[in-house]
């Protein structure tokens, strides 16, 4: 079942030209923000690499992440990833079913013990193991079992990365992220709902080329794609800087393409590559389509107070609060002032008139 052919061979057998392959490698290299000279190395590595075994698990999710990848803009190129890797187990794509499927997974785990990559899509329910099971096994058991001998775990999508939608308040299933459970393996979070396809392929290519995972930010996301906010890279940023905002979705500002900040755009607090990589063969992306960023690649984005609520609009009655604050300040100031005044009056009462006779040795 496991082919030992190199990728180069496989690609050729699939009718992918050398030129097409190099083009793909160059794209990946630039996406990964590597030096252009690295394209050759990427190509060389990918050509020679033995296909690593990948096990893809689905927990509490919508399969949108897999859809994002398989239905991406250039299926021939993006789907190549499935040729680079030996996707030994993927519940949605698997031809086999039932015991046969489970057997394939166990075989892969045995054959590539300690070397296979585990990709997780979806969050894990802890409130009741029965909320999500596969073949009678709870998600938690499956995850712990498969992760035990994995080289690394890739959490694809916001559910696996941060808990995502299942984790949203009141979180009835007690959903948690992969990193809440697995503590002893390298974990890489590719957040987004769904993540950008090239981010998924890019991370896999990085692992195949260099044998290690790329540099991560404080939330375990590859810095290559998540180092800047949407806002910082947004083509509507100049309008924000000038203070030009759309106030409704159909006003003059919206028609003129002004900043969507006041319509609830979460761009300023969202780290992702949408503004530069875009979606659907670089056709467009949410803000370009006229809708604010939802902040889908950030933890707890469902509970951010509303997609159409501007970021810094206070959610309580400020005027009342300010009134109390001012009153408190005035009262404290008045008390301190009176205390100081009493002290000064006391000093004045005790004042002894200075007279030149006070000096003993006058000249």
């Amino acid at each position: 079942m496991f082919t030992q052919d190199s990728l180069g061979k496989i690609l050729k057998s699939h009718g992918v030209s050398r030129r097409g392959f190099i083009k793909f490698c160059s794209t990946l290299t630039s996406m990964l923000a590597l030096h252009p000279a690295m394209a050759a190395k990427v190509a060389e590595s990918l050509e020679k690499v033995q296909r690593p075994s990948v096990i893809w698990l689905h927990f509490q999710e919508c399969t949108g992440c897999s859809e994002s990848l398989t239905r991406s803009h250039a299926p021939t190129i993006e789907s190549l990833i499935f040729d680079y890797i030996s996707l030994d187990y993927h519940e949605t794509l698997l031809a086999a079913a039932g015991d046969a499927a489970e057997k394939a997974m166990h075989e892969a785990m045995q054959a590539h013990k300690g070397k296979y990559l585990l990709v997780v899509e979806g969050s894990i329910p802890l409130a009741n193991p029965g909320f999500s099971t596969v073949g009678g096994q709870s998600n938690l058991d499956v995850l712990q079992n498969v992760a035990k001998d994995a080289a690394a775990v890739i959490a694809v999508g916001s559910c696996a990365s941060f808990g995502g939608l299942p984790n949203a308040d009141p979180n009835p299933t007690g959903a948690v992220s992969v990193s809440d459970i697995i503590k002893d393996k390298p974990i890489i979070n590719i957040s987004g709902c769904p993540p950008i396809p090239v981010v998924i392929t890019g991370v896999l290519a990085h692992f195949l080329t260099f044998g290690v995972l790329p540099e991560l930010d404080n939330l375990g996301r590859p810095k290559t794609f998540y180092a800047n906010t949407i806002h910082d890279r947004c083509y509507r940023r100049p309008f924000y800087d000038k203070g030009l905002f759309a106030e409704t979705f159909d006003d003059e500002g919206a028609k003129k393409g002004w900043c969507l900040y006041r319509l609830g755009c979460k761009g300023p607090t969202t780290y992702n590559a949408c503004a530069t990589v875009k979606w659907n063969d670089q056709t467009s992306w949410p803000v370009e389509a006229g809708h604010g960023c939802l902040g889908c690649s950030e933890p707890r984005f469902w509970d951010g107070g509303g997609f159409y609520k501007a970021l810094s609009l206070p959610d309580s009655d400020v005027r009342k609060m300010a009134g109390y604050a001012v009153a408190t300040g005035l009262a404290a100031g008045a008390i301190a002032g009176i205390a100081n005044k009493i002290k000064k009056q006391d000093m004045l009462k005790q004042h002894e008139v200075v007279s030149v006779d006070d000096w003993d040795d006058k000249s």
């Binding site: 100081n340 002290k343 000064k344 000093m347 005790q350 200075v354 007279s355 030149v356 000096w359 000249s363």
Partner: protein
């Protein structure tokens, strides 16, 4: 000794406790606002000639306020009180005050340049004046100023000038010029004040006043009980002593029933009688106070000040800090100078931001400060040099003295003139004699 209640046995003596009490008395809303708003930018250093000429950071004006600042912080602010309670605050001690005495007295002429420069508007020089109250009460005032204050209170003048000395100068002037100098004229319109410096060193000033007033037919007088305008209390920084000295002038003026009191050219005398006086005695004057140059300007406008000749020599104008920067008498001296000289070459920074002669605020009366004062005079020397003139004109007896000494110290042979005297020297001669008689006759009626 940190107890706020003054112990019985320490009463009647100048000591730390009394000094701390005085600091506490001085802290008011402006002081609190100033200290809280200081942004530690250090711009005041560059405004102070004691810093610019020595480069010694201790002379940074705001640093001179350390004792007052500590009291404010430790006793009037919440944070400072907490720090004090936890033992993190540095107390104000006799050692600290001793260390700060030369900074507060020798290295500050209360010229007010730092207050003008301060970007947040802190009146630093005003606070140094306040700090001196605590220095006096704690017994940390310099000997020279203590002596001057003692003489001012006991003999009537900081230089020990008594009435007989003034009378002798009057007799000399009367013999030389044939004019009568009116003294103790009941109901006169104007009462002129003098500074000791003028009586002893520059008696020409008295002669000049007489000449000008006679020509203008002014009903004026001197007062035998209150001829001294200088106020050592202001310089040493004791409101009690200053009040006593102001009270003396006010009593004299009230007794004669004059309408206007004329401050002499002397800068700090003007500050004392014109600005601080009513606050010190706690009531309004029943008379007006004008600086002599303000009066001359009024006379000029009324056509009662007539000059007949002009000097051609090139001159520059030194602005006395108390009169120009603090007193606001800025335009008048320049207008008046035009009467007698068309060859004015202003020095750099002339006017409101001119540099101090270095001897104001009691520095000139403090012998210990002399080497420092002469060192920092370099700034004035450079200013005068860049004006490239033959003489310096000013309108403050103390500045005049300091300029003469300073120029001599730097080997610059250059005369220093009083503006009032210069004008008196160029009056129309014809009206001089008869008007003197007229005034005398009027006075006798």
């Amino acid at each position: 000794m940190t107890n706020v209640v003054i112990a019985e046995e320490s009463k009647g003596k100048l000591n730390l406790e009394r000094g701390l009490n005085a600091f506490r008395e001085q802290i008011d809303a402006p002081v609190a606002a100033f200290f809280s708003s200081c942004v530690h930018c250090g711009l005041c250093a560059e405004a102070c000639l004691f810093y610019t000429e020595t480069g010694d950071p201790r002379y940074t004006p705001i640093n001179k306020l350390e004792p007052l600042k500590r009291i404010w912080e430790q006793e009037y602010t919440l944070w400072g009180r907490a720090k004090k309670a936890l033992g993190f605050a540095k107390p104000v001690t006799d050692e600290l005050l001793e260390q700060w005495e030369p900074l507060i007295y020798d290295a500050c002429s209360l010229c007010g340049r730092c207050s003008e420069i301060c970007p947040v508007g802190n009146d630093i020089s005003g606070m140094i004046r306040k700090t001196r109250e605590g220095m006096v009460a704690s017994g940390h005032a310099p000997e020279g100023l203590v002596g001057a204050s003692f003489r001012a209170v006991k003999t009537g003048s900081p230089m020990g000038v008594k009435l007989p000395a003034l009378q002798a100068q009057i007799r000399h002037i009367e013999a030389d010029t044939g004019m009568t100098i009116p003294i103790d004229v009941q109901g006169a319109d104007y009462m002129a004040l003098l500074s000791s410096m003028e009586i002893i060193n520059f008696p020409e000033y008295i002669e000049a006043l007489a000449k000008i007033f006679n020509q203008a037919e002014l009903n004026w007088t001197l007062c035998s009980e209150a001829f001294e305008a200088t106020n050592s209390g202001i310089q040493i920084g004791s409101s009690d002593i200053a009040q006593e000295l102001v009270e003396r002038v006010v009593r004299g003026a009230e007794k004669l029933g004059v309408k206007t009191v004329i401050s002499p050219e002397c800068g700090h005398a003007y500050t004392a009688i014109r600005w601080e006086g009513p606050n010190l005695i706690g009531r309004k004057y029943p008379f007006k106070v004008v600086h002599i140059l303000e009066l001359l300007d009024e006379l000029k406008a009324a056509g009662r000040l007539k000059t007949s000749s002009k000097e051609s020599m090139s001159v520059t104008l030194h602005d006395p800090c108390q009169v120009v920067r603090k007193g606001g008498v800025r335009a008048q001296p320049r207008e008046l100078l035009k009467l007698v000289n068309d060859n004015l070459h202003e020095m750099p920074d002339a006017g409101k931001m001119n540099w101090c002669c270095g001897g104001g605020g009691g520095v000139s009366a403090n012998e210990r400060a002399e080497p420092l004062r002469l060192k920092v005079f370099k700034r004035k020397r450079d200013q005068i040099e860049s004006a490239d003139v033959e003489a310096v004109v000013t309108f403050c007896a103390n500045c005049r003295m300091m300029l003469e000494e300073g120029l001599e110290h730097y080997d610059m042979d250059m005369p220093v003139y009083s503006l009032t005297e210069m004008i008196a020297d160029h009056l129309e001669p014809s009206v001089e004699e008869p008007s003197a008689v007229n005034v005398e006759e009027e006075d006798n009626e």
